[in-house]
Symmetry: C2
Subunit: 416 residues, 2 copies
């Protein structure tokens, strides 16, 4: 399988891009090359795709089901009761809807945490994206539930081998307040043994910090550190309530921070201190969180909101400039997961998008990256390629009509 | 001219909408009616269009020209030098690009302030939108410039009569720090005499407040009040640095506040206190500001950012809920300008949009208004009608290719 993109803008120059298998083989004059598929790149620019660093894809089924509520009313009276009745098939259809939305806005990878691993895995496999998908742990300090979580994780590790290498299996202990100490330690050891990443929520709310202090006399990062969780294989979502020494600890351990500005603003969780965390040496990537708390999965919007919030919060208009926001939404999560994607260069994975330079939001076109961060929306994304396969052309994903029809059934199923 | 929209969603029911001339004549069964144009409303919902409350349309030509800079470096070294060479023709082409972008994202009215009135007026007239366009005042306390501003305003008032009633002529004294006391007083009197609205910037930055205190010993609202500016015909952009008594003063005088959250965040101007201003009784509408400080003109994005920022700032997730954000982006500015638009009801102006319920961002569709505020982007907007005329169908505006081609010329003209 080979794809030749002819006459496309790359770093302000017009060039060709030749994809061989799942790799970008050549960036430059490809007049001599022939390919199975040829794409006309005129009035388009080639860019890396977005990598959504923290997500609960299947939750697309509850988009706009409950908004503008206090956090615990939202969780206890709306989100959790709805989730209680969810089947693997629901997760599959919710995750397909999420994948569709992500592809349409230029995202090809997401770091996920949700129940019914196979539901999401089947969706990702079919839709042609990449994802890090996990075995979720929530045992609420119950030994039976802990054992069941552990058994399931072992089983899923084996079962995950049936999928392509676009799916990376990981462990997903939800948070230190929902997962027992024993299960957290088990996750740390099992992940080391099998070379797995671990995905958790960390210091998301002030209450989490206060409760941790009450229960254990220490704050969340130190608690996880004592259990052996803090390491280069840990991706920690939110990290809103870190103090300076905790930032230094996370940086020292190589923990990755996943910043979700929209979700944090909408649920009033607080503010992740991007500039300080970056200065402390923490690797940071940006994610949308799930549709229940955003309510879209659009990384174009997310990196803009991250940049705006950081400027507003610090009072410094030079904070989190467009180039940093762009990196945090594209390459950053790829590096965390050992993927040679999120970048357009020879030898990199052929995960890329073509944006339409004729879209009004990219005109006049003084600075493409600033336009992508501050002006673009999903209408600008014309073509998406992942792993050398075309997932979308002319802003249409094959089969999208059926995914929409199935997605709409959730409205009746969970009628308010 | 009549338009019949058949079988469209309105308030969760399927109905027909009949437009006669520039008015919504009937909402209900229209089987018996015939119309010159029939639109199939299936899988679409009819909604009011957005009304962009504060804007500098022509500045679309400098989108992403200079970002991530300190305010005064941004103005002095980038924006103002660029603006110094602008012609009426540049303004016309910049404003057409802005109008195109606004139509594509569902906006049909904007409240503007920019040089070369006729450039913007021609663009609005041709594009079929509505706008409040003004004679700008910036005299920097120079008597000759003041007299020239005044002469121009008188002349433009006469010349503005050549345009349709979609264009509302107003006065645009830029701000109290760029316009002399004499010119401000003249604006107040001339506006009273001719029944004009006045559009200004008020309490946008802390420096403006400090400088006003130093020069006049009073804060900006009191200063304008002494000059007779504070009245129901004043729309005041930003209003970031109002204290409680100033909010009460503005409410008492009937002054309208124009909230621009993205611009305020991007330039670190501070935070408009929406909840407090609303409680004080101020009418509030939301605007995008110009493309130089946003960098798009998308009201869908703007009302989401307004809602997120208010929740984050107050720490209250119930603050500025979706319904209020929606009203502030649609009906609010219409009411300020005496337009019976921004609402779908019989007798209202036929300014409306059809959104595509098959767009992935509006699925499953639990709550349409929450979906529009928190999830949608411009891709959801299928059809836009203003003043009973179709401006866009199937997300295509007739002539858009030529507008884009002209817009792109600015890249060469103002090459960095």
């Amino acid at each position: 399988m080979s794809i030749l993109i002819q006459g496309v803008q790359h770093n302000d120059l017009t060039t060709d891009v030749f994809i061989n298998g799942n790799v970008i083989e050549t960036i430059g004059d490809c007049k001599e090359k022939s390919a199975e598929t040829v794409i006309d790149g005129s009035n388009k620019a080639v860019l890396p795709t977005f990598h959504n660093a923290h997500h609960h894809a299947a939750m697309a089924y509850m988009r706009s089901y409950a908004d503008d509520l206090e956090l615990f009313e939202w969780l206890n009276e709306h989100i959790w009761p709805l989730e209680a009745g969810i089947t693997e098939d629901d997760v599959y259809h919710g995750a397909r809807l999420a994948c569709l939305e992500m592809i349409k806005s230029g995202t090809t990878f997401f770091n996920d945490m949700y129940w019914h691993f196979h539901g999401t895995a089947r969706a990702v496999e079919e839709m042609g994206m990449r994802a890090a998908l996990g075995a979720v742990f929530i045992d609420m300090n119950n030994a039976d539930r802990r054992d069941a979580n552990i058994e399931q994780a072992k089983q899923l590790l084996n079962e995950s081998k049936r999928y392509s290498d676009r799916i990376q299996f990981q462990l997903g202990p939800h948070a230190l307040y929902t997962v027992s100490k024993e299960a957290l330690i088990w996750c740390s050891e099992f992940a080391s043994e099998h070379g797995l990443m671990i995905h958790t929520h960390l210091s998301e709310t002030e209450k989490e910090v206060e409760d941790c202090l009450k229960l254990y006399g220490i704050r969340p990062p130190e608690y996880l550190d004592r259990l052996g969780l803090l390491g280069p294989n840990l991706t920690a979502a939110h990290c809103v309530w870190l103090n300076q020494s905790e930032m230094e600890l996370l940086a020292e351990r190589g923990v990755k921070a996943l910043h979700c500005p929209t979700s944090n603003m909408k649920l009033c969780s607080g503010k992740f201190r991007f500039t300080e965390a970056q200065a402390a040496g923490i690797q940071i990537a940006i994610g949308t969180d799930g549709a229940a708390s955003n309510n879209n999965l659009c990384m174009i919007e997310e990196i803009k909101i991250a940049a705006l919030l950081e400027k507003h919060f610090t009072g410094d208009p030079t904070a989190l400039p467009a180039t940093v926001a762009w990196h945090s939404g594209t390459r950053a999560a790829a590096e965390m997961f050992g993927l040679n994607s999120g970048i357009i260069q020879e030898g990199a994975l052929a995960d890329l998008m073509l944006v339409n330079l004729d879209n009004e939001r990219l005109v006049p076109g003084h600075q493409l990256i600033a336009d992508m961060v501050y002006s673009a929306d999903s209408c600008c994304v014309n073509t998406v390629i992942c792993d050398g396969k075309i997932l979308m052309q002319n802003h249409h994903v094959p089969g999208e009509e059926e995914i929409i029809a199935k997605g709409r059934e959730f409205r009746e199923k969970f009628r308010r």
